[in-house]
Structures are given as C-alpha cells and as structure tokens.
Symmetry: C2
Amino acid sequence: MSWEETLDYYGVLIDEEVKKFFAEAKKAAKAYHPFIGEVYSNVEEFVLRKGKKLASCSTLLTYEGYAGKIDNRILKACVSIELYRHCILVHDDLVDKDTQRRGGKTFHRLVAENYDDRLGYGTGVFVGDLMYALTLQAILNSGFSQEKLNRVMLLLLEGYRNVNESQILDLLFEYKEPDVDEWCVMASKRAASLFETTIFVGGILGNAPEGDLQILREAARHVGYSFDIQDDIIDTFASLEQYGRPSGGDVALGKKPLHIIYSFKLAGRDALNKLKNLTSKEHISPHDLESIRAIVRESGALEAAKKKAKEHAEKAKTLIARTSLSDETKKFFASMITYIKESLDWYR
Amino acid sequence: MSWEETLDYYGVLIDEEVKKFFAEAKKAAKAYHPFIGEVYSNVEEFVLRKGKKLASCSTLLTYEGYAGKIDNRILKACVSIELYRHCILVHDDLVDKDTQRRGGKTFHRLVAENYDDRLGYGTGVFVGDLMYALTLQAILNSGFSQEKLNRVMLLLLEGYRNVNESQILDLLFEYKEPDVDEWCVMASKRAASLFETTIFVGGILGNAPEGDLQILREAARHVGYSFDIQDDIIDTFASLEQYGRPSGGDVALGKKPLHIIYSFKLAGRDALNKLKNLTSKEHISPHDLESIRAIVRESGALEAAKKKAKEHAEKAKTLIARTSLSDETKKFFASMITYIKESLDWYR
C-alpha cells in the first residue's frame, strides 16, 4: 500500500470505532437533555471530518510495528487519540477566533450560527473540556492492562498540560518579539509534544523495548517541529485552493511563526521596518499579506524555516531507522516525513 | 471544635499541602518559560484565596469518618479536589464574564489587566485546561493504592464531564424558559455532581462499606441541590456587603435560577409581564434588580425555592445519619447542612 492508501485504510477502521464510541455517548447525552444530545452529535461530526489522521495513524502504526497486528483495543485507543487532538483544536479555534476547520465550521461557530456568539463561545469552552474527559474515558475503556493504561494516562496528562502551556506562550508572542531559541522553547510543547504523545502511546501499548521508546520519543519530537514549521508556512503562504480557507490568519493575529522570526533577523532595515508596520496593523489586506510574503521570501527567512523543518525531518528519519519497528511501519513513517518535507516546496 | 473551627483547622493543613504541590509545579513551569512560571504563581494565589473549602473538607472529613485519622495521602487528594473545583471556576468565570472571585480578580481578569482582554481570555481557556490535568496528576501522586486511584479517576472524569454538560444547559437556559423539572435535570449535574464527587472520593479512599457509598452518593446530591439553590438566591438577593461584589449578575445574563423559574409559575399576570420585561433587558439597573426581587418575594417564589432547598438539606441530613461515619464527621456534615439552611434566611 502507498502511504495515502495506508492512511485511508486505517482511517476507515478508526472512523468505525469512533462511531461506535459515539453511539453509546450520544445515548447517554440525549437521556440527560436533548440539547446535550445535539451537542454530542456535533462533536461526532467534528471528529469524523475528512482529514489525514496523522496522530491516531501514528499511534496505530507504531503499535502494529511492535505487536505485529492491530486489534480492537488499539482501535479504541485511537478513538482516544482522535478525541485528544480534537479537544485541543476546539479550544485553539475558539481562542484564535477561527471560523473554518477541515471543510466545515469550527465548533464554536457551529453553535454560534444556530444561536449567537455567546452560546457558541461558552459551549466551545465547555465542550473542549468534556472532550478531554471523553479522551481519558476512551483510553481507560480500551481493554489494555492496567499497568499500560497507567503509563498512557500519565502521558496524556503531561501532554495536555504541555500543549496548553505552549498555547499560552504562543499567545504571549503576539505581544513580544521572541527569538529563534524562544520559539523553539514554545514549540517544544506544541506539535512536538502531540507527536511525542501519540507515538509513545503506540509504543507502550505495543510493548516496544524501553530503548526504542526513548528513540521514538526523540524522533516524534523532530517530526513535531518539522510539522509545526510547515503548518505555519502553510498558514502564511497557501493559496485559497490549497488551504480551503483564506490564509494569513496567524499573521493577522500578530502571531510569530518561525518564518516571521527569521525575517526579523534576516531582513534589511527598510524591509524590517515595513514588515513590522505590516504585521502590527489592525487589519491586514490581501495586498499587505502579499507584501509580507515577499519580505519573508526575499530576506531568505522562508528558506531558513524550510531548511530547519527539513533538518528536523531528516533527524526523525534517521532515528526511526534505528528502532526495531517492522519494515512496514518504518516505511509508513518514512513516507510521512517525506510528505512533510516535499510539501514544504508547494508553498513559495 | 465548632464547624467553623473544623473548617479553619483543616483548611490550614490543605493550604500547606497546596503550597508544597505548587513549589514543585512552579519550578517546572519557570524552567519552561518565565511567563508560564508567572501563570502558575497566579494559579496558586487563585487556589489559595480565603474561602470555606467545603468541597475538599468534605472529602477530608468523609475519609476521616471511615479511616479514623487523616494522613499525608488524603491531604494530597484534597489538593486534587481544590484544583478540580478551581479549574471549573476559571472557565465558569470566563464564560460568565465575571470580574471578581473570592475577594480578588477572576483568573482571566488577572491576566487581562496586565495585558489585554485577548491574552486574559485565551490564557483563561488554557489555564482551566491545564489545571484539570494538574487535578488528575495530583490524585495519581497521592500514594493511595492503584485500585482506589482507578475508581477515583473514573469519578473525576465522569464528574468533570457532568459539570461541563450542566454548564452548557445553564447557558442554554438564557435562551429559553425551563420549568422546574428541567431545572432539576440541569442541576443534577452541577453542584449535586460536585458534592457527589468530593464526598464519594473521600468514602472510597477511606474504605467506606459499599452500602454506605450509595447512601453518601445520594446524600451528597441532596447537599448539592440545596447548595445550588442557596447559591443562586445569594446572587440575586445578597447585599454588596454580604457578597463582596454586586449581586444580580445571573439575572443580568438572563440566567434562570430556580427562584426565577418559580416566579414565572407563581406570579400574577401583571407581575409576570413585568418580570419578563425586566429580566430580558440589556442592562439591569439597581432599581430594576429591586423590582425583580420584589416580584420573586411577593409571588411566593423565594419561599418556594427556600423550601425546596431546605427539603433537600433535610433529606441529606437523614441519609448521613444512617451511615457508619464517625460521630465527629456526622456532626461536621450536620453543621454544614444547618449552615446552608440557616443562611437561606439571611437573604430576603
């Protein structure tokens, strides 16, 4: 199977398990109150939206790479990983006031458009919370041994704490000019932490040797950095067609992705002044965004960010090759990393 | 010891343990980034604010009532309960746009006043999240047997899910007119769920007989209903002196506490029309609030709500007397319930 076929194949299995999970959860929610039943239906639709499922497929393939097979327990664990990823997205979208997510409305907008901003916003806060509780309930009901569940639980707690700490820093950076090192500190608990959690969970549940777990942890962190840098480049450089929504959202909020931080360092004086003026504007027009892109490109910052993403990707690849994962899983990760690397070149 | 002395005495012990917990947590947070260190200091200050600690003292006294003593493990579990209660408050205050909490600023306002609304609001979302992760980390590090921790973990997950579901309904009620039954459905997962969790946790950790656990669960739910009704009456009827902040916040948001729902049922036609006009106003003046109070009083709704709160309190008292809790703990709960009942009469 090609990488995309693998993702599709396992994605379908995970979706089936997500539906089973929500069949139960929706029943209880409806019994409590019809509106809460509706909310759970919305959550299910949100989680099931088309997408690559890199996080839960990483868990699944890591597990298979050690256990030699997949079973019902790991599919249930993948439901937990999907819930985990999406509970983070609900609060992320809310704070960043995003309106679109993977071809649909963001969660708080779904509710807001049926009622008003207040109910959308409040429901978004509380739904993100209860989705995290669902995450942990799902993993505890996966059927793995208590010993493994204890380790995985600690990872999901540490991971959630990490992601939320990095989210606060990411916000803070709208108010200051971090340098590359400070950006790396922030990012160490963002996608790096997410991939670390998802791959580590698969390794623990699949009985990976302890030595491998440490290598996987390191590799996952490199994948995360690489993914993070790429994700931010997409937000500034993707066309409407590529992105499915207008790009430039991060810059409009005053966020400081790595390619902007590099621009602050690399741009000449005039370009730097222009960039600072543009990024601090209340409203950034399509023309402003084009000017920002030009500065990021021409200062060499875009290339510097891509280079850093590629270095992390290479390191991840080398590390994964050193594990005793099955050849099929190694191939999967190699393809995923190649995909991240190559896709960097789609944005210029 | 009187009830107040008991609360003070144990409150000091719990505070000491909270400080120990944060000494560690702040160290790690500071090492990640100075701003996150600051955030954790704010969280500590928020959790340590003066207050009755009814939730964690209920856990502690229930434990003592079965185990015959308190020890370091239960104090650590109480830190978890305090974090649990406060992570719920952070998101509650955020969604309700409250500015004051127990003699200080609400968490999001603490940050907002040093930066701006956006950072305050976003940090509030993410801090509530990470405080829940801290809640579960604290209980897992309490030193109790894995078997007990597993049961307690399930309670804290179910409880958090419940509270967040009821919060959504409470918001929805701003957009509709629930009847008494619907209010009870909502409230069944609010304070009733919180007291159920805290008392049940104490019972499980203290080795309460299974039969007692079921009675405690029921009793705790009645305490919760009683507390909830009282808490809402305070928000409408307390003076500035009694409340430490202006009252009327719930009504201004269009919330539907039980005494308002009873008014809709009991008020005559003219009073009802007046009440509907007043509660749907964009801005409620002190004079409007006085008129609302008069209608709630004169329709008999205030008495009806108080009567219901007292009935729940009585049921809780009777149930607790049937358990094999120590006399000291029974006395503690009896005093707590009497306090809730008697305090109802402070608000007219």
